[in-house]
């Protein structure tokens, strides 16, 4: 067995393969209707994170900040947080403010829950005719976790702070925790759920807020997102579905919390990437809704398999390296296994010590024991590993930060996940369901054909 659990030979990080925790939290809060994320710390973090997410989503994306100065750093940020909340309320009238800490406020040990308590109390005394926005706090010290921990932490905080059993109207609702996927993925998931006659509370849902049309009228906070009221009803959901193979091993998540507090049945699976995980999704939805899988989707599955049969020759035996978020990489690796592609290297900047086992479990026999599975690694380490495997890789699958590596190695990069800031379609990339699988398959096959075609001396036009 060639796999190593922790291979980073260096102490320091050179070209990281993960981002910091408040980014994940801010993304989640962007997926709540009429909500505004607020980072509690100095302004650099919020500006950087805003700037960075905008380069991927190419959409308006406001993140407020409590703006620490040198004195705040010494004496604590309570007063700043209060002022920030006041100002946000007056400018934006949000229904929810999502407060994530930065390394600075975490290092000085600000007691944010206490600040929030005090703010609520003062508010109740002062303004009786105004509704206080919901205040949700998540601790996101980046020296303890990556953007994925920030993401899942914020989802959990939303549910733990808000979920109850307020009477639900309309068709039975289920809670859907899709993980960190693209706006196109979210749209597709919602379409699927609706086609099963279900109502879903998708947390988070930034399909509109971060991939919306041009405005015909002004929007202070972009339209869309999970309604706060829907979050309050999450405890009355008919079921919860939580996606992500690594997330499924977490002890306390939004899903487990709803299960223990409100007996909402929890279904857990990987991101529905590829055939078997998509099959699971549809099985679960059929079970929850009591309805058969709509013809539209059996057709999609059929067309996907038809394409795989016809296109298998292009993919079989191809060797890829996959990198990015742990759950995404695990999902993609499993899909590659289904396609006959050999993922020789799977890497993530996070992983929490569970990455290797999780990935290995979903791989077919032919490659399971010969894969390099790296967690908590940076790009310099990934590239070194690839260089050691000299010429054994045909293709890279991952996000834009892998571009320099792809350029140096002369291997094409199929862009997936986040961040994709060197292409125009970061928000529109579809990974999930049979349709997502179809698109991934098409992109991979076409890229391989293009390489073959370009290297061919004659220049065939049939493949």
């Amino acid at each position: 067995m060639r796999s190593v659990k922790q291979t980073a030979p260096y102490t320091a990080t050179q070209n990281a393969c993960n981002l910091c925790a408040p980014l994940g939290a801010a993304l989640v809060f962007k997926g709540i209707a009429n909500a505004l994320p607020l980072l509690h710390g100095s302004q650099g973090c919020s500006t950087y994170i805003r700037r960075y997410m905008i380069s991927h989503f190419k959409e308006p994306l406001d993140i407020a900040c409590s703006n620490f100065g040198e004195d705040t750093a010494i004496f604590g940020g309570g007063a700043n947080l209060k002022l920030a909340l006041d100002n946000i309320r007056r400018q934006y009238h949000p229904e929810l403010i999502g407060i994530a800490t930065t390394c600075l406020s975490e290092t000085i040990g600000d007691d944010v829950p206490m600040f929030i308590q005090a703010y609520k109390a003062a508010f109740q005394n002062a303004c009786r005719d105004e509704q206080l926005p919901a205040l949700v706090h998540v601790a996101t010290p980046s020296y303890q976790g990556t953007h994925m921990e920030g993401f899942h932490g914020a989802v959990r905080a939303l549910i733990q702070t808000l979920a109850g059993r307020e009477a639900a109207e309309g068709p039975p609702a289920m809670n859907l925790f899709p993980g960190m996927v693209s706006p196109a993925d979210l749209r597709h998931l919602k379409e699927i759920v609706i086609d099963f006659g279900l109502e879903a509370t998708v947390v988070p849902d930034y399909s509109d807020t971060l991939n919306g049309p041009l405005w015909t009228e002004y929007q202070r906070i972009p339209e869309g997102g999970t309604p706060v009221n829907a979050l309050r009803r999450a405890g009355a959901g008919v079921a919860s579905l939580e996606c992500g193979l690594l997330l499924a091993a977490e002890k306390e998540t939004a899903g487990t919390w709803l299960a223990t507090q409100f007996d909402v049945p929890l279904h857990r699976q990987g991101l529905p990437i590829g055939i078997s995980q998509s099959d699971r999704l549809f099985d679960t939805l059929a079970a929850v809704s009591g309805k058969a899988i709509p013809q539209k989707y059996t057709d999609q599955r059929g067309r996907l398999l038809d394409a795989l049969v016809d296109g298998h020759k292009h993919l079989s035996g191809v060797r890829v390296a996959i990198f990015g978020e742990e759950d995404l990489v695990a999902g993609l690796a499993a899909f590659c296994g289904e396609l006959g592609i050999f993922p020789v290297l799977c890497a993530t900047g996070g992983g929490r010590g569970r990455f290797a086992d999780t990935v290995r479990k979903v791989m077919p026999d032919y490659c399971r024991d010969q894969m390099q599975i790296l967690e908590d690694v940076d790009f310099v380490t990934i590239e070194k590993k690839l260089a050691e495997m000299d010429g054994e890789v045909d293709l890279l699958i991952g996000h834009s930060k892998g571009y320099t590596m792809s350029r140096r190695l002369g291997k094409p990069l199929i862009r997936v996940g986040f961040p994709v800031h060197d292409r125009v379609d970061g928000s529109r990339l579809l990974h999930l369901g049979y349709r997502g699988a179809q698109q991934l398959f098409d992109r991979i096959a076409n890229t391989l054909i293009q390489v073959k075609q370009e290297r061919n001396e004659i220049g065939y036009t049939y493949f």
Binding site: T13, Q14, D62, N80, L83
Partner: protein, 559 residues
Amino acid sequence: MAKATSKLATESIKLENHDPEKIKARLLAKYPPKVARKRAKQIVVNKVDRDGKVPVISSNVRTVPGLIGQRGCCYAGCKGVVLGPTRDIINITHGPIGCGYYSWLTRRNQTDPDKAANGQASDGHNFMTYCFSTDMQDEEIIFGGEKKLKQAIQEAYDNFKPKAIAVFSTCPVGLIGDDVHAVCREMKAKLGINVFGFSCEGYKGVSQSAGHHIANNGIFTHVVGLDDTITAGKYRINLLGEYNIGGDAFEIERLFERCGITLVSSYSGNSSIDAFANSHTADLNLIMCHRSINYVAEMMETKYGVPWIKVNFIGAAATAKSLRKIAQYFDEEELTAQVEAVIADELPAVTAACEEIRPRTVGKRAMLFVGGSRAHHYQELFGELGIKTLSAGYEFGHRDDYEGRRVLPDIKVDADSRNIEELEIQPDPERFHPRIDEAKRKTLEAEGLGFSDYEGMMPEMPDGSMVIDDLSQYETDELIRIFKPDLFCAGIKEKYAVQKHGIPLKQLHSYDYGGPYAGFKGAINFYKEIDRMVNSRVWEYMQAPWEASPELSATYAWE
């Protein structure tokens, strides 16, 4: 939606029949009284009096918590802006992963590693595509990060054998009390290369500006003056505050070369640490971005006697003027003739391009909110295209950048700025020599060459235009709704919010991945780019045929 047809304003901008004071009141309406009072001092209606004096504008003050602004942090100014573009220094971010990650090749500084400083052989070093971080974990936050920092420096050295390593502290570092400077001294002694640190924690100062100052101090203390070799070439100058976004510095370098002007160093676009070390041997400092780099120029003048003048290579006329200033300073016929020949050779193509495009841009209205100098410089290019600037402001400028250096003695130093060290500089006992004598300086000044002077943005803007410091996102939205300008200039954070309204936004930090816009060739690029943006066919399709109703666009523009 049809583009709003603008009524052209007369000479001094009338803001299209809006009362600027009313607009100001509207911008402030939603703020609590205390915040409104503070912001009121940062929103000013311009009025230039006879001797060029303008109203006071409050700037370089802390952004109010909860106002979503454009500014970054001290670390971003120090590592990201000033030191980032130097290809042969390994920059290690000491802190958790995010700060370093987000500043990893995000600015579009270009560099040419094959071109070594001062005719030396190139080592080909280019570390700009790397992001080195100590990636602090729990353990370091609790027990301190000096050990990990030492290892990081050692690893960077072992891997790349650089000439220099710089360390940048982020917020948590200041709190846990790591002594990065001691670590740097120790590693410098151990490795035998230059290793220096910056205490540029993000909470210091009020914006990137604090980081610029700290970077200037560090470079001056640790690098400038290390190499006294006077290299070959006539008319030896430094170009300060030019960061080579989109290849601007390459275009300026091209012009210098044609004119026979020798560039000793540039701070810090297309730069090398060797050139910094040697830069005190130049005979003149040219300042592009006054805000970010004037400290180095001032210190170099005090210590070594190198005078500085303000230049601007954004805009064809401004470029010609700046080249002429250099010739005026050196006052040699050969150079003057060459500068005039270059201008005469290059200007016709620029004028032709401008004349061709101008009919399609004249009368359009722009707003510029960006940086600490670009909001001023780019008004030149817009002027050439006949585009009016209705409103402008800086993200991190100080009063001197708005009102001119004449107000320097009146600037109150608040608590946020007091913490940024001012170095005490004395003339160097051996190496100080004034490049021109007092009499000559006086003569040149009488002829109109201003030394150590920058007049600021406001004296050059028409009366009645709105000058707004540290514009917030909320105010941006309001301005857009009130004026519906034809073009907005800011950065990527503002871009997509403005474009949602159907108004093009030109990024003046990254140039939307275009450029260069400096110099003569750059001006042509810019004219074409603005023509493309304001006259794109996409605006014709904004409204679907079934939506066509005139009321709609009216509500759109005026709420």
